[in-house]
Protein backbone atom coordinates (compact mmCIF):
# COMPACT_ATOMS: atom_id res chain seq x y z
CA UNK A 1 0.00 0.00 0.00
CA UNK A 2 2.71 2.43 0.89
CA UNK A 3 5.05 1.67 -1.98
CA UNK A 4 3.57 4.30 -4.28
CA UNK A 5 4.00 7.06 -1.75
CA UNK A 6 7.73 6.80 -1.34
CA UNK A 7 9.09 5.84 -4.73
CA UNK A 8 11.41 8.85 -5.04
CA UNK A 9 10.82 10.55 -1.74
CA UNK A 10 13.89 11.41 0.31
CA UNK A 11 13.98 9.63 3.66
CA UNK A 12 12.61 11.57 6.57
CA UNK A 13 9.24 12.86 7.67
CA UNK A 14 7.13 14.63 5.12
CA UNK A 15 4.65 17.15 6.28
CA UNK A 16 2.22 17.15 3.40
CA UNK A 17 -0.41 19.82 2.88
CA UNK A 18 -3.01 19.55 5.58
CA UNK A 19 -6.63 19.12 4.48
CA UNK A 20 -8.23 20.57 7.62
CA UNK A 21 -6.11 23.55 8.73
CA UNK A 22 -6.75 24.12 12.44
CA UNK A 23 -6.14 20.69 13.98
CA UNK A 24 -3.05 19.56 12.04
CA UNK A 25 -1.30 22.85 12.73
CA UNK A 26 -1.71 22.42 16.46
CA UNK A 27 -0.67 18.83 16.26
CA UNK A 28 2.36 19.66 14.16
CA UNK A 29 3.78 22.20 16.59
CA UNK A 30 3.46 19.82 19.52
CA UNK A 31 4.91 17.03 17.40
CA UNK A 32 7.88 19.21 16.49
CA UNK A 33 8.50 19.85 20.14
CA UNK A 34 8.22 16.17 20.98
CA UNK A 35 10.49 15.28 18.08
CA UNK A 36 13.02 17.83 19.28
CA UNK A 37 12.87 16.48 22.81
CA UNK A 38 13.30 12.91 21.59
CA UNK A 39 16.30 13.92 19.50
CA UNK A 40 17.88 15.69 22.47
CA UNK A 41 17.30 12.67 24.73
CA UNK A 42 18.76 10.27 22.18
CA UNK A 43 21.70 12.58 21.52
CA UNK A 44 22.30 12.90 25.25
CA UNK A 45 22.43 9.13 25.62
CA UNK A 46 24.66 8.80 22.55
CA UNK A 47 27.18 11.40 23.71
CA UNK A 48 27.08 9.91 27.20
CA UNK A 49 28.90 6.90 25.75
CA UNK A 50 31.72 9.22 24.65
CA UNK A 51 31.55 11.03 27.97
CA UNK A 52 31.93 7.87 30.04
CA UNK A 53 35.16 6.90 28.30
CA UNK A 54 36.63 10.37 28.71
CA UNK A 55 35.40 10.77 32.28
CA UNK A 56 36.78 7.37 33.27
CA UNK A 57 40.24 8.23 31.95
CA UNK A 58 40.25 11.70 33.51
CA UNK A 59 38.93 10.57 36.90
CA UNK A 60 41.68 7.97 37.21
CA UNK A 61 44.34 10.48 36.14
CA UNK A 62 42.93 12.75 38.85
CA UNK A 63 42.85 9.99 41.44
CA UNK A 64 46.41 8.99 40.63
CA UNK A 65 47.78 12.54 40.48
CA UNK A 66 49.41 12.31 43.90
CA UNK A 67 51.38 9.21 42.92
CA UNK A 68 52.34 10.62 39.53
CA UNK A 69 53.39 13.94 41.09
CA UNK A 70 55.43 12.33 43.87
CA UNK A 71 57.15 9.55 41.97
CA UNK A 72 57.15 11.00 38.45
CA UNK A 73 58.78 8.74 35.91
CA UNK A 74 60.26 6.80 38.80
CA UNK A 75 56.80 5.19 39.09
CA UNK A 76 57.56 3.33 35.87
CA UNK A 77 61.15 2.37 36.67
CA UNK A 78 61.01 1.27 40.29
CA UNK A 79 60.32 -2.29 41.40
CA UNK A 80 59.74 -1.23 44.98
CA UNK A 81 56.16 -1.58 46.27
CA UNK A 82 56.31 -0.86 49.94
CA UNK A 83 53.23 0.28 51.82
CA UNK A 84 55.19 0.90 55.03
CA UNK A 85 57.88 3.06 53.45
CA UNK A 86 55.25 4.73 51.19
CA UNK A 87 57.35 3.97 48.10
CA UNK A 88 55.48 2.68 45.07
CA UNK A 89 56.83 1.62 41.69
CA UNK A 90 54.81 -0.10 39.01
CA UNK A 91 57.43 -2.25 37.30
CA UNK A 92 56.43 -5.58 38.87
CA UNK A 93 52.67 -5.34 38.12
CA UNK A 94 53.28 -3.97 34.63
CA UNK A 95 55.82 -6.72 33.93
CA UNK A 96 53.36 -9.36 35.19
CA UNK A 97 50.53 -8.01 33.05
CA UNK A 98 52.73 -7.96 29.95
CA UNK A 99 54.25 -11.42 30.51
CA UNK A 100 50.99 -13.22 31.40
CA UNK A 101 49.20 -11.62 28.42
CA UNK A 102 52.07 -12.54 26.11
CA UNK A 103 51.91 -16.18 27.22
CA UNK A 104 48.13 -16.08 26.69
CA UNK A 105 48.49 -14.72 23.15
CA UNK A 106 51.18 -17.24 22.21
CA UNK A 107 48.89 -20.11 23.28
CA UNK A 108 45.53 -18.69 22.20
CA UNK A 109 46.31 -17.45 18.69
CA UNK A 110 47.17 -20.79 17.01
CA UNK A 111 44.27 -22.56 18.78
CA UNK A 112 41.78 -19.82 17.84
CA UNK A 113 43.02 -19.81 14.26
CA UNK A 114 42.57 -23.58 14.13
CA UNK A 115 39.05 -23.44 15.55
CA UNK A 116 38.03 -20.60 13.20
CA UNK A 117 39.37 -22.53 10.19
CA UNK A 118 37.59 -25.66 11.37
CA UNK A 119 34.30 -23.80 11.82
CA UNK A 120 34.39 -22.06 8.43
CA UNK A 121 36.22 -24.38 6.04
CA UNK A 122 36.39 -27.93 7.38
CA UNK A 123 33.48 -28.88 9.62
CA UNK A 124 30.38 -30.32 7.99
CA UNK A 125 27.52 -27.81 8.02
CA UNK A 126 25.50 -29.57 10.73
CA UNK A 127 28.44 -29.44 13.12
CA UNK A 128 29.22 -25.73 12.74
CA UNK A 129 26.47 -24.23 14.87
CA UNK A 130 26.77 -26.56 17.90
CA UNK A 131 30.57 -26.36 18.03
CA UNK A 132 30.51 -22.60 17.44
CA UNK A 133 27.97 -22.14 20.24
CA UNK A 134 29.98 -24.32 22.61
CA UNK A 135 33.08 -22.19 22.04
CA UNK A 136 31.03 -19.03 22.54
CA UNK A 137 29.75 -20.41 25.85
CA UNK A 138 33.36 -20.40 27.07
CA UNK A 139 33.14 -16.61 26.80
CA UNK A 140 29.90 -16.51 28.80
CA UNK A 141 31.35 -18.28 31.85
CA UNK A 142 32.09 -15.60 34.48
CA UNK A 143 35.79 -14.99 35.01
CA UNK A 144 35.51 -15.77 38.72
CA UNK A 145 34.63 -19.35 37.77
CA UNK A 146 37.86 -19.58 35.76
CA UNK A 147 39.63 -18.29 38.84
CA UNK A 148 38.12 -20.91 41.15
CA UNK A 149 38.69 -23.70 38.67
CA UNK A 150 42.24 -22.44 38.29
CA UNK A 151 42.91 -22.34 42.01
CA UNK A 152 41.29 -25.62 43.05
CA UNK A 153 41.77 -27.82 39.98
CA UNK A 154 44.30 -26.43 37.53
CA UNK A 155 46.96 -25.27 40.01
CA UNK A 156 47.27 -28.73 41.62
CA UNK A 157 47.33 -30.26 38.13
CA UNK A 158 50.17 -27.94 37.05
CA UNK A 159 52.07 -28.59 40.29
CA UNK A 160 51.78 -32.37 39.99
CA UNK A 161 52.18 -33.05 36.29
CA UNK A 162 53.32 -30.09 34.17
CA UNK A 163 55.71 -28.03 36.27
CA UNK A 164 57.98 -30.88 37.53
CA UNK A 165 58.43 -31.96 33.91
CA UNK A 166 59.24 -28.40 32.77
CA UNK A 167 61.72 -27.93 35.62
CA UNK A 168 63.42 -31.26 34.91
CA UNK A 169 63.62 -30.95 31.13
CA UNK A 170 63.68 -27.23 30.27
CA UNK A 171 65.19 -25.83 33.49
CA UNK A 172 68.77 -27.06 32.85
CA UNK A 173 68.90 -25.46 29.39
CA UNK A 174 71.15 -22.37 29.12
CA UNK A 175 69.49 -18.91 28.96
CA UNK A 176 66.01 -20.14 27.95
CA UNK A 177 66.00 -22.52 30.94
CA UNK A 178 65.95 -19.63 33.42
CA UNK A 179 62.26 -19.21 32.62
CA UNK A 180 61.52 -22.68 34.00
CA UNK A 181 63.35 -22.87 37.33
CA UNK A 182 62.05 -22.95 40.86
CA UNK A 183 59.74 -25.11 42.93
CA UNK A 184 56.66 -26.69 41.36
CA UNK A 185 54.06 -24.84 43.44
CA UNK A 186 51.47 -24.59 40.68
CA UNK A 187 50.75 -20.85 40.81
CA UNK A 188 52.68 -18.30 38.78
CA UNK A 189 52.88 -16.54 35.43
CA UNK A 190 52.65 -19.67 33.30
CA UNK A 191 49.48 -20.93 34.99
CA UNK A 192 47.92 -17.46 34.78
CA UNK A 193 48.90 -17.19 31.11
CA UNK A 194 47.30 -20.55 30.27
CA UNK A 195 44.03 -19.64 32.03
CA UNK A 196 44.01 -16.25 30.27
CA UNK A 197 44.53 -18.09 26.97
CA UNK A 198 41.45 -20.25 27.58
CA UNK A 199 39.45 -17.12 28.37
CA UNK A 200 40.40 -15.17 25.24
CA UNK A 201 40.15 -18.09 22.78
CA UNK A 202 36.37 -17.59 22.25
CA UNK A 203 36.78 -13.85 21.58
CA UNK A 204 39.56 -14.27 19.03
CA UNK A 205 37.81 -17.26 17.44
CA UNK A 206 34.50 -15.41 17.01
CA UNK A 207 36.11 -12.45 15.24
CA UNK A 208 38.30 -14.66 13.04
CA UNK A 209 35.32 -16.82 12.08
CA UNK A 210 33.30 -13.76 11.11
CA UNK A 211 36.06 -12.31 8.94
CA UNK A 212 36.72 -15.70 7.29
CA UNK A 213 33.02 -15.85 6.41
CA UNK A 214 33.36 -12.44 4.73
CA UNK A 215 35.80 -13.78 2.12
CA UNK A 216 33.95 -13.74 -1.24
CA UNK A 217 33.05 -17.25 -2.33
CA UNK A 218 34.14 -16.46 -5.90
CA UNK A 219 37.76 -16.16 -4.80
CA UNK A 220 37.65 -19.47 -2.96
CA UNK A 221 35.77 -21.23 -5.76
CA UNK A 222 38.34 -19.99 -8.26
CA UNK A 223 41.14 -21.40 -6.16
CA UNK A 224 39.35 -24.75 -5.77
CA UNK A 225 38.70 -24.86 -9.52
CA UNK A 226 42.46 -24.58 -10.08
CA UNK A 227 42.85 -27.80 -8.10
CA UNK A 228 43.86 -26.38 -4.72
CA UNK A 229 43.56 -28.37 -1.53
CA UNK A 230 41.59 -26.96 1.44
CA UNK A 231 44.78 -25.82 3.13
CA UNK A 232 45.99 -24.07 -0.02
CA UNK A 233 42.70 -22.17 -0.27
CA UNK A 234 43.15 -21.04 3.35
CA UNK A 235 46.81 -20.22 2.94
CA UNK A 236 46.65 -18.40 -0.41
CA UNK A 237 43.15 -16.89 -0.43
CA UNK A 238 41.50 -16.71 2.99
CA UNK A 239 44.47 -15.61 5.11
CA UNK A 240 45.89 -12.99 2.69
CA UNK A 241 42.40 -11.54 2.17
CA UNK A 242 41.75 -11.22 5.92
CA UNK A 243 45.29 -10.56 7.16
CA UNK A 244 44.73 -7.19 8.84
CA UNK A 245 41.45 -8.30 10.40
CA UNK A 246 43.14 -11.43 11.80
CA UNK A 247 45.78 -9.21 13.41
CA UNK A 248 42.92 -7.04 14.68
CA UNK A 249 41.35 -10.12 16.28
CA UNK A 250 44.65 -10.86 18.03
CA UNK A 251 44.82 -7.32 19.40
CA UNK A 252 41.24 -7.65 20.61
CA UNK A 253 42.24 -10.79 22.51
CA UNK A 254 45.28 -8.98 23.88
CA UNK A 255 43.08 -6.13 25.08
CA UNK A 256 40.91 -8.64 26.93
CA UNK A 257 43.88 -10.44 28.44
CA UNK A 258 45.56 -7.26 29.72
CA UNK A 259 42.59 -6.21 31.83
CA UNK A 260 41.36 -9.60 33.01
CA UNK A 261 41.22 -9.59 36.77
CA UNK A 262 39.53 -12.36 38.70
CA UNK A 263 40.96 -15.32 36.82
CA UNK A 264 44.56 -14.25 37.33
CA UNK A 265 44.15 -12.89 40.86
CA UNK A 266 43.53 -16.42 42.11
CA UNK A 267 46.60 -17.99 40.54
CA UNK A 268 49.30 -15.29 40.32
CA UNK A 269 50.38 -15.39 43.97
CA UNK A 270 50.39 -11.64 44.72
CA UNK A 271 54.06 -11.02 45.47
CA UNK A 272 55.92 -7.86 44.57
CA UNK A 273 59.27 -9.46 43.72
CA UNK A 274 60.55 -9.36 40.18
CA UNK A 275 61.33 -12.94 39.13
CA UNK A 276 62.46 -14.12 35.75
CA UNK A 277 61.06 -17.63 36.12
CA UNK A 278 57.52 -18.17 34.84
CA UNK A 279 56.94 -20.70 37.62
CA UNK A 280 57.45 -18.18 40.43
CA UNK A 281 54.52 -16.22 41.88
CA UNK A 282 54.16 -12.70 40.51
CA UNK A 283 51.56 -10.00 40.13
CA UNK A 284 49.67 -8.03 37.52
CA UNK A 285 48.09 -4.58 37.52
CA UNK A 286 44.57 -5.96 37.76
CA UNK A 287 45.48 -8.52 40.43
CA UNK A 288 47.24 -5.86 42.53
CA UNK A 289 44.12 -3.70 42.38
CA UNK A 290 41.80 -6.57 43.33
CA UNK A 291 44.00 -7.78 46.18
CA UNK A 292 45.14 -4.56 47.77
CA UNK A 293 42.46 -1.95 47.13
CA UNK A 294 40.49 -2.58 50.31
CA UNK A 295 43.71 -2.70 52.33
CA UNK A 296 45.02 0.63 51.08
CA UNK A 297 45.28 2.61 54.31
CA UNK A 298 47.03 5.77 53.15
CA UNK A 299 46.32 8.37 50.50
CA UNK A 300 49.57 7.63 48.74
CA UNK A 301 48.84 3.89 48.63
CA UNK A 302 45.35 4.50 47.21
CA UNK A 303 46.62 7.06 44.73
CA UNK A 304 49.31 4.65 43.52
CA UNK A 305 46.69 1.94 42.98
CA UNK A 306 44.47 4.30 41.00
CA UNK A 307 47.51 5.42 39.01
CA UNK A 308 48.07 1.74 38.18
CA UNK A 309 44.43 1.58 37.02
CA UNK A 310 45.02 4.61 34.80
CA UNK A 311 48.04 2.94 33.19
CA UNK A 312 46.00 -0.22 32.60
CA UNK A 313 43.10 1.73 31.10
CA UNK A 314 45.38 3.67 28.76
CA UNK A 315 47.19 0.55 27.56
CA UNK A 316 43.97 -1.41 26.93
CA UNK A 317 42.37 1.56 25.16
CA UNK A 318 45.29 1.86 22.76
CA UNK A 319 45.33 -1.92 22.17
CA UNK A 320 41.57 -2.05 21.54
CA UNK A 321 41.68 1.03 19.30
CA UNK A 322 44.37 -0.63 17.16
CA UNK A 323 42.20 -3.77 17.04
CA UNK A 324 39.12 -1.84 15.89
CA UNK A 325 41.06 0.09 13.24
CA UNK A 326 42.52 -3.13 11.83
CA UNK A 327 39.09 -4.78 11.84
CA UNK A 328 37.55 -1.84 9.99
CA UNK A 329 39.62 -2.76 6.95
CA UNK A 330 37.40 -5.73 6.22
CA UNK A 331 34.02 -4.56 4.99
CA UNK A 332 32.03 -4.18 8.19
CA UNK A 333 28.66 -4.52 6.54
CA UNK A 334 29.43 -8.09 5.59
CA UNK A 335 30.24 -9.02 9.14
CA UNK A 336 27.98 -10.12 11.91
CA UNK A 337 29.72 -7.89 14.39
CA UNK A 338 29.80 -9.15 17.90
Amino acid sequence: MSETANADAPPGPRHGPAPAPPRPRRRRSSDTAADGLFHVLAAGAGYLVLGILLAAALSMLWGGRKAFATFGLHFFTSTQWDAVAQKFGAVVPIYGTVVSSTIAIIIAVPISLGIAIFLTEIAPRWLRVPVGTAIELLAAIPSIIYGMWGLFVFVPFMATYIQPWLIAHLGPLPAFGALFRGAPIGIGMLTAGIILAIMIIPFITAVMRDVFLAVPNGLKDGCIAMGSTTWEVIRHVVLPYTRSAVIGAIFLGLGRALGETMAVTFVLGNTHDLKLSLLEPGNSIAATLANEFTEADSDMYLSSLIALGFVLFLVTLVTLAIAKLLLLTVDQRKLQRR
Binding site: I144, W149, T205, E232, A290
Partner: protein
Protein backbone atom coordinates in the same frame (compact mmCIF):
# COMPACT_ATOMS: atom_id res chain seq x y z
CA UNK B 1 61.61 -37.74 -2.64
CA UNK B 2 57.83 -37.58 -2.57
CA UNK B 3 55.86 -36.35 -5.56
CA UNK B 4 54.40 -32.84 -5.54
CA UNK B 5 50.86 -34.19 -5.32
CA UNK B 6 51.67 -36.38 -2.34
CA UNK B 7 53.41 -33.53 -0.54
CA UNK B 8 50.42 -31.24 -1.08
CA UNK B 9 48.08 -33.93 0.18
CA UNK B 10 50.20 -34.51 3.27
CA UNK B 11 50.37 -30.77 4.04
CA UNK B 12 46.61 -30.54 3.62
CA UNK B 13 45.91 -33.52 5.87
CA UNK B 14 48.31 -32.20 8.49
CA UNK B 15 46.74 -28.74 8.61
CA UNK B 16 43.18 -30.10 8.63
CA UNK B 17 44.21 -32.44 11.44
CA UNK B 18 45.80 -29.60 13.42
CA UNK B 19 42.70 -27.46 13.13
CA UNK B 20 40.53 -30.34 14.36
CA UNK B 21 42.97 -30.78 17.24
CA UNK B 22 42.65 -27.07 18.09
CA UNK B 23 38.85 -27.41 18.18
CA UNK B 24 39.15 -30.46 20.41
CA UNK B 25 41.45 -28.53 22.76
CA UNK B 26 38.95 -25.66 22.96
CA UNK B 27 36.05 -28.01 23.72
CA UNK B 28 38.21 -29.91 26.21
CA UNK B 29 38.65 -26.80 28.41
CA UNK B 30 34.90 -26.10 28.29
CA UNK B 31 34.19 -29.69 29.31
CA UNK B 32 36.77 -29.66 32.09
CA UNK B 33 35.56 -26.39 33.62
CA UNK B 34 31.89 -27.40 33.36
CA UNK B 35 32.55 -30.80 34.92
CA UNK B 36 34.45 -29.21 37.80
CA UNK B 37 31.64 -26.75 38.46
CA UNK B 38 29.06 -29.54 38.32
CA UNK B 39 31.05 -31.90 40.52
CA UNK B 40 31.81 -29.47 43.34
CA UNK B 41 28.68 -27.38 42.89
CA UNK B 42 26.04 -30.13 42.93
CA UNK B 43 27.54 -31.61 46.08
CA UNK B 44 27.36 -28.28 47.87
CA UNK B 45 23.75 -27.50 46.99
CA UNK B 46 21.21 -27.42 49.80
CA UNK B 47 18.12 -25.47 50.78
CA UNK B 48 20.18 -23.65 53.42
CA UNK B 49 21.67 -21.59 50.59
CA UNK B 50 18.40 -19.74 50.15
CA UNK B 51 17.33 -19.48 53.77
CA UNK B 52 20.44 -18.49 55.72
CA UNK B 53 22.95 -15.64 55.72
CA UNK B 54 26.65 -15.90 54.92
CA UNK B 55 28.29 -17.48 57.98
CA UNK B 56 31.28 -16.40 60.05
CA UNK B 57 34.42 -18.51 59.46
CA UNK B 58 34.14 -22.18 60.26
CA UNK B 59 30.37 -22.43 60.68
CA UNK B 60 27.48 -23.36 58.43
CA UNK B 61 25.29 -20.95 56.57
CA UNK B 62 23.79 -19.91 53.26
CA UNK B 63 23.99 -17.20 50.66
CA UNK B 64 20.59 -15.51 51.05
CA UNK B 65 21.93 -12.00 51.63
CA UNK B 66 24.35 -12.39 48.71
CA UNK B 67 21.62 -13.51 46.30
CA UNK B 68 19.44 -10.62 47.40
CA UNK B 69 22.24 -8.08 47.03
CA UNK B 70 23.16 -9.34 43.58
CA UNK B 71 19.51 -9.19 42.56
CA UNK B 72 19.16 -5.60 43.77
CA UNK B 73 22.31 -4.43 42.00
CA UNK B 74 21.47 -6.16 38.73
CA UNK B 75 18.01 -4.57 38.95
CA UNK B 76 19.52 -1.11 39.47
CA UNK B 77 21.78 -1.75 36.48
CA UNK B 78 18.87 -2.83 34.27
CA UNK B 79 16.73 0.16 35.26
CA UNK B 80 19.58 2.60 34.59
CA UNK B 81 21.29 0.91 31.68
CA UNK B 82 18.37 -0.16 29.49
CA UNK B 83 16.71 3.21 28.72
CA UNK B 84 20.04 4.97 28.21
CA UNK B 85 21.39 2.13 26.07
CA UNK B 86 18.26 1.89 23.92
CA UNK B 87 18.18 5.67 23.42
CA UNK B 88 21.87 5.75 22.48
CA UNK B 89 21.32 2.87 20.06
CA UNK B 90 18.37 4.76 18.57
CA UNK B 91 20.54 7.85 18.20
CA UNK B 92 23.06 5.81 16.20
CA UNK B 93 20.58 3.88 14.04
CA UNK B 94 18.02 6.62 13.38
CA UNK B 95 19.99 9.87 13.42
CA UNK B 96 23.59 8.95 12.68
CA UNK B 97 23.54 5.85 10.52
CA UNK B 98 26.21 7.02 8.07
CA UNK B 99 27.71 10.09 9.71
CA UNK B 100 31.11 10.73 11.22
CA UNK B 101 29.56 11.28 14.65
CA UNK B 102 27.93 7.87 14.38
CA UNK B 103 31.23 6.27 13.42
CA UNK B 104 33.04 7.88 16.37
CA UNK B 105 30.39 6.84 18.90
CA UNK B 106 30.32 3.27 17.52
CA UNK B 107 34.10 3.14 17.74
CA UNK B 108 34.13 4.32 21.35
CA UNK B 109 31.22 2.03 22.23
CA UNK B 110 33.09 -0.99 20.84
CA UNK B 111 36.12 -0.04 22.92
CA UNK B 112 33.96 0.29 26.05
CA UNK B 113 32.53 -3.14 25.23
CA UNK B 114 35.93 -4.74 25.71
CA UNK B 115 37.35 -2.36 28.32
CA UNK B 116 38.46 -4.05 31.54
CA UNK B 117 35.61 -4.12 34.04
CA UNK B 118 37.96 -3.49 36.97
CA UNK B 119 38.67 -0.05 35.53
CA UNK B 120 34.94 0.74 35.42
CA UNK B 121 34.84 -0.14 39.12
CA UNK B 122 37.71 2.27 39.83
CA UNK B 123 35.91 4.96 37.84
CA UNK B 124 32.73 4.63 39.91
CA UNK B 125 34.86 4.58 43.06
CA UNK B 126 36.43 7.92 42.09
CA UNK B 127 33.12 9.33 40.90
CA UNK B 128 30.83 8.28 43.72
CA UNK B 129 32.18 6.10 46.53
CA UNK B 130 35.01 8.44 47.46
CA UNK B 131 32.61 11.38 47.63
CA UNK B 132 30.00 9.70 49.82
CA UNK B 133 32.74 8.15 51.94
CA UNK B 134 31.52 4.55 52.20
CA UNK B 135 30.91 1.54 49.96
CA UNK B 136 27.40 1.38 48.54
CA UNK B 137 25.09 -0.88 46.59
CA UNK B 138 24.15 2.06 44.39
CA UNK B 139 27.76 2.31 43.28
CA UNK B 140 27.73 -1.39 42.40
CA UNK B 141 24.54 -0.95 40.40
CA UNK B 142 25.95 2.05 38.53
CA UNK B 143 29.19 0.22 37.72
CA UNK B 144 27.20 -2.75 36.38
CA UNK B 145 24.99 -0.36 34.37
CA UNK B 146 28.08 1.12 32.71
CA UNK B 147 29.22 -2.41 31.80
CA UNK B 148 25.76 -3.24 30.40
CA UNK B 149 25.48 -0.05 28.39
CA UNK B 150 27.71 -0.83 25.37
CA UNK B 151 26.08 -4.25 24.87
CA UNK B 152 22.59 -2.71 24.73
CA UNK B 153 23.72 0.21 22.54
CA UNK B 154 25.20 -2.16 20.02
CA UNK B 155 22.30 -4.63 19.81
CA UNK B 156 19.73 -1.81 19.61
CA UNK B 157 21.72 -0.10 16.85
CA UNK B 158 22.03 -3.36 14.89
CA UNK B 159 18.43 -4.43 15.39
CA UNK B 160 17.00 -1.06 14.29
CA UNK B 161 19.25 -1.07 11.22
CA UNK B 162 17.99 -4.55 10.31
CA UNK B 163 14.37 -3.38 10.10
CA UNK B 164 13.10 -3.04 6.53
CA UNK B 165 13.05 0.53 5.21
CA UNK B 166 9.40 0.07 4.10
CA UNK B 167 8.30 0.01 7.70
CA UNK B 168 9.78 3.43 8.40
CA UNK B 169 8.56 4.88 5.11
CA UNK B 170 5.03 3.58 5.56
CA UNK B 171 4.83 5.15 8.99
CA UNK B 172 6.26 8.48 7.82
CA UNK B 173 3.86 8.46 4.85
CA UNK B 174 0.98 8.46 7.33
CA UNK B 175 2.32 11.71 8.75
CA UNK B 176 3.36 10.22 12.08
CA UNK B 177 6.02 12.26 13.87
CA UNK B 178 9.45 10.74 14.19
CA UNK B 179 9.44 10.03 17.91
CA UNK B 180 6.17 8.14 17.51
CA UNK B 181 7.48 6.20 14.51
CA UNK B 182 10.47 5.14 16.58
CA UNK B 183 8.67 4.36 19.82
CA UNK B 184 5.42 2.86 18.49
CA UNK B 185 6.53 1.19 15.25
CA UNK B 186 10.27 0.53 15.24
CA UNK B 187 10.69 -0.44 18.91
CA UNK B 188 7.76 -2.81 18.61
CA UNK B 189 9.19 -4.46 15.50
CA UNK B 190 12.67 -4.74 17.04
CA UNK B 191 11.54 -5.61 20.57
CA UNK B 192 12.73 -9.23 20.47
CA UNK B 193 16.19 -8.13 19.37
CA UNK B 194 16.44 -5.35 21.93
CA UNK B 195 15.30 -7.71 24.66
CA UNK B 196 18.02 -10.13 23.56
CA UNK B 197 20.57 -7.38 24.00
CA UNK B 198 19.36 -6.74 27.54
CA UNK B 199 19.48 -10.47 28.35
CA UNK B 200 23.03 -10.74 26.99
CA UNK B 201 24.01 -7.74 29.07
CA UNK B 202 22.45 -9.24 32.21
CA UNK B 203 24.34 -12.48 31.55
CA UNK B 204 27.50 -10.43 31.32
CA UNK B 205 27.09 -8.53 34.58
CA UNK B 206 25.71 -11.39 36.70
CA UNK B 207 29.15 -12.85 37.32
CA UNK B 208 31.09 -9.59 37.35
CA UNK B 209 33.29 -9.42 40.41
CA UNK B 210 36.06 -6.91 39.92
CA UNK B 211 33.97 -3.72 39.68
CA UNK B 212 31.99 -4.66 42.81
CA UNK B 213 35.16 -4.93 44.90
CA UNK B 214 35.53 -1.15 44.73
CA UNK B 215 31.87 -0.19 44.95
CA UNK B 216 29.49 -2.49 46.83
CA UNK B 217 32.25 -4.56 48.47
CA UNK B 218 30.53 -7.08 50.73
CA UNK B 219 28.37 -7.33 53.79
CA UNK B 220 28.23 -10.34 56.03
CA UNK B 221 24.79 -9.47 57.33
CA UNK B 222 21.35 -8.95 55.88
CA UNK B 223 20.92 -5.47 54.48
CA UNK B 224 17.89 -4.56 52.41
CA UNK B 225 19.07 -1.06 51.51
CA UNK B 226 21.54 -0.36 48.72
CA UNK B 227 22.70 2.77 50.59
CA UNK B 228 25.42 0.86 52.38
CA UNK B 229 27.78 -1.98 51.50
CA UNK B 230 25.79 -4.80 49.93
CA UNK B 231 26.59 -8.51 49.89
CA UNK B 232 26.71 -10.06 46.43
CA UNK B 233 27.40 -13.52 45.08
CA UNK B 234 30.58 -12.87 43.06
CA UNK B 235 32.47 -11.07 45.83
CA UNK B 236 31.34 -13.69 48.37
CA UNK B 237 32.65 -16.40 46.04
CA UNK B 238 35.94 -14.53 45.73
CA UNK B 239 36.43 -14.02 49.46
CA UNK B 240 35.25 -17.51 50.44
CA UNK B 241 37.33 -19.26 47.79
CA UNK B 242 40.47 -17.40 48.89
CA UNK B 243 39.85 -18.35 52.53
CA UNK B 244 41.36 -21.41 54.23
CA UNK B 245 37.99 -22.78 55.52
CA UNK B 246 36.39 -25.85 53.95
CA UNK B 247 32.83 -24.81 54.79
CA UNK B 248 33.42 -21.48 53.04
CA UNK B 249 34.89 -23.26 50.02
CA UNK B 250 31.76 -25.36 49.78
CA UNK B 251 29.54 -22.28 49.81
CA UNK B 252 31.75 -20.67 47.17
CA UNK B 253 31.30 -23.70 44.90
CA UNK B 254 27.54 -23.67 45.44
CA UNK B 255 27.44 -19.97 44.52
CA UNK B 256 29.69 -20.55 41.52
CA UNK B 257 27.47 -23.37 40.30
CA UNK B 258 24.29 -21.32 40.54
CA UNK B 259 25.83 -18.24 38.89
CA UNK B 260 27.29 -20.34 36.07
CA UNK B 261 24.01 -22.13 35.37
CA UNK B 262 22.10 -18.84 35.46
CA UNK B 263 24.52 -17.13 33.09
CA UNK B 264 24.69 -20.07 30.66
CA UNK B 265 20.89 -20.37 30.59
CA UNK B 266 20.61 -16.67 29.79
CA UNK B 267 23.31 -16.90 27.13
CA UNK B 268 21.67 -19.89 25.44
CA UNK B 269 18.19 -18.33 25.58
CA UNK B 270 19.31 -15.00 24.16
CA UNK B 271 21.28 -16.72 21.40
CA UNK B 272 18.22 -18.76 20.43
CA UNK B 273 16.07 -15.61 20.42
CA UNK B 274 18.65 -13.79 18.33
CA UNK B 275 18.89 -16.58 15.76
CA UNK B 276 15.11 -16.72 15.52
CA UNK B 277 14.82 -12.95 15.16
CA UNK B 278 17.44 -12.78 12.41
CA UNK B 279 15.82 -15.57 10.43
CA UNK B 280 12.49 -13.81 10.74
CA UNK B 281 13.75 -10.59 9.15
Amino acid sequence: MLGLRTRRQIANRAMVGLSMLATAVGLFWLGWIMLTTLRYGLGALSTRLFTQMTPPPGSEGGLLNAFYGSFVMVLIAIVLGTPIGVLAGTFLAEYHRQTRTGAVIRFVNDILLSAPSIVIGLFVYELLIRRIGHFSGWGGGIALAIIMLPVIVRTTDEMLQLLPANLREAAFALGIPRWKVVSAVLYRAASAGILTGVLLAVARISGETAPLLFTALNNQYWSSSPNGPLANVPVVIFQFAMSPYDSWHELAWAGAFIVTMFVLALAVTSRALLAKGKRGQ
